[in-house]
């Protein structure tokens, strides 16, 4: 265990993150980069971006609360130190996505109202399921919920958004690149650390699977709501896009031509596929949401 945890030390984190891929960045992107003019000039596109970014802020706030709460539940100091780096990563994500809302024209005084107005209630429920485990002091369930389910979802969502924005909005794509690198590290810790703890406490498995099932149900509801709400805007964006821009490929699907239903399907299938793989690595079977 200690050998694997040494790869998750604060020294390694300092070298790879603040002194590595975040070096010379400003709120996660290259200095001076701006949001796409075409998006800022179109009221519908802009509202859609604000709505999407609100979900990111809420998701990251939940991750910040969860990872900081896990520190005091950790069974050893090296795990605590890794979770300290994760706490700061999540805080950084809250900050850069909040900053993006400001860049999209949301006033600081309207931040709370914007979050309340656009926040998806299913995302709030998703976070509540996780935070309940942490409030009860359940470290193993907390890490599975946070580092496998939440982070696994965030990882796939960010990758899909990165594919969409790589050409259309490099500033946001660069912001996402750093968060993807962070999430990869978090998921890696979850898989490595929890496998051995679950082996020692197999009686915990049913309860953890129930949590995964509930979180998955809320997650799929968020995806369903989000793609349904953005159906028309997606069509409008695709119609007005530069025809020479080339495809935006994600998991074999061109996001520049796919409709919202196809997008929802590819994202849901990717996340669930990731859950199955990662849960199997720690000795858990994925359970689909109850009918």
């Amino acid at each position: 265990m200690s050998d694997f945890l040494s790869a998750f030390s604060i020294q390694s984190w300092l070298e790879s993150c603040p002194q590595g891929y975040l070096d010379s960045t400003e709120y996660g992107h290259r200095p001076g980069e701006k949001e796409s003019e075409a998006m800022l000039d179109n009221e519908d596109f802009l509202e859609q971006e604000i709505r999407t970014t609100v979900q990111l802020v809420l998701g990251e706030r939940a991750a910040l609360a969860a990872s900081s709460g896990l520190i005091n539940l950790a069974p050893d100091d090296p795990s605590r130190m890794f979770l300290a780096t994760q706490t700061l990563d999540e805080a950084r994500h809250v900050e850069i996505f909040t900053q993006r809302l400001y860049d999209l024209g949301v006033k600081k005084s309207d931040l709370d109202g914007t979050l309340a107005n656009y926040g998806n209630p299913n995302l709030v429920k998703f976070a509540e399921v996780l935070l309940e485990k942490i409030d009860k002091g359940d470290f193993v369930a907390g890490v599975v919920g946070q580092n496998i389910v939440l982070e696994g979802m965030a990882f796939s969502v960010f990758e899909m958004m990165h594919a969409t924005n790589e050409i259309a909005n490099p500033k946001f794509a660069h912001t996402l690149s750093g968060t993807i690198a962070d999430e990869r590290r978090h998921v890696g810790f979850g898989e490595n650390r929890i496998g051995s703890l679950l082996q020692a406490q197999p009686e915990k498995k049913p309860e953890i699977q129930k949590m995964q099932q509930e979180m998955t149900a809320h997650m799929l509801a968020v995806f369903s709501d989000s793609f349904a709400e953005s159906e028309e805007v997606i069509q409008e964006v695709q119609t007005s896009a530069d025809p020479d821009a080339g495809p935006a490929m994600y998991q074999g699907v061109d996001l520049n031509t796919a409709d919202s239903e196809e997008m929802e399907a590819v994202l849901s299938n990717t996340v669930i596929g990731e859950f199955k793989t990662r849960l199997a690595r720690i000795g858990l079977e994925y359970l689909p949401p109850a009918a």
Partner: protein, 257 residues
């Protein structure tokens, strides 16, 4: 801070958001952690220690770890009840700072030949410091922001700042370099605590009497810890090590007699 921002032109609210941000932390630590490994230049020469001198240093570092562990647990616990998102983000930067301090002190213990630092830390723990930690975590568990901030970001941080600064002045080159980096972080944490608490006391003076009582209670434990650290380091008595701590308490008008 980004180059386009002129701090003096910011409103108080924007200024606080700026200095409590990850971005600010990133640029601050880059200045003194760049090129270091576990808090110091990896090429610094190791000093040879006499038997008793080494024992005292190990005991002292173990107790620094107890303090840093308390700070890590308290600052992470405080995130959930921070009064605003900026305070939560600042505390997250503090969490990683405290984790780093624990890591660099543990690494230093390993360099000094301690094969199992975690066990050693528990065995050499100072009882006053352990009591102090328990009391701090009680306030955190109760989600008492003012009390947690006073005990964590004012008393504990000022205590660590004073002890580390005094120790760095007489320490071997590696320990001194490690301590100097840690002191720079502690200054930031103390600034946050003093600023936030100072503003709160201004708007809610009635909270002072409650905080005075807490300060009085924990001051005894703080001074007892200083006394033991000074003794184990062979420094000239309690006053030298605790001078900065006492000045901070004076500045905020808290009792320490």
């Amino acid at each position: 801070m980004s180059e386009t921002v002129e701090p003096h032109e910011l409103s108080q609210e924007d200024f606080l958001a700026e200095v409590h941000s990850f971005q600010f932390w990133l640029e601050a630590v880059d200045g003194y952690l760049g090129g270091t490994s576990f808090g110091c230049d990896p090429d610094l020469p190791e000093q040879t220690f006499a038997g008793e001198e080494l024992e005292f240093l190990i005991t002292t570092l173990c107790n620094y770890c107890i303090g840093e562990r308390a700070a890590l647990e308290a600052s992470s616990g405080m995130i959930r009840f921070a009064p605003d998102p900026e305070a939560a983000i600042f505390l997250a930067t503090q969490v990683v700072d405290e984790g780093r301090h624990l890591e660099v002190f543990v690494h230093r213990l390993k360099m000094l030949g301690v094969s199992d630092p975690w066990t050693e830390i528990d065995q050499r723990a100072n009882h006053s410091l352990l009591k102090f930690k328990d009391r701090l975590l009680e306030f955190v568990d109760q989600r008492d922001w003012e009390a947690s901030l006073l005990v964590q970001n004012v008393i504990l941080e000022a205590m660590e700042f004073s002890a580390f600064q005094a120790h760095a002045a007489s320490a071997d080159p590696i320990t001194a370099a490690v301590l100097t980096g840690v002191v720079k972080d502690e200054r930031r944490h103390m600034g946050f605590g003093e600023n936030d608490l100072g503003r709160k006391l201004l708007h809610a003076p009635h909270t002072r009497s409650r905080l005075n009582q807490i300060a009085r209670e924990l001051n005894t434990l703080a001074l007892s810890t200083f006394s033991e650290i000074a003794e184990s380091l062979g420094l000239q008595g309690e006053t030298d090590v605790s001078a900065n701590y006492l000045a901070t308490m004076d500045r905020l008008g808290f009792p320490h007699g």
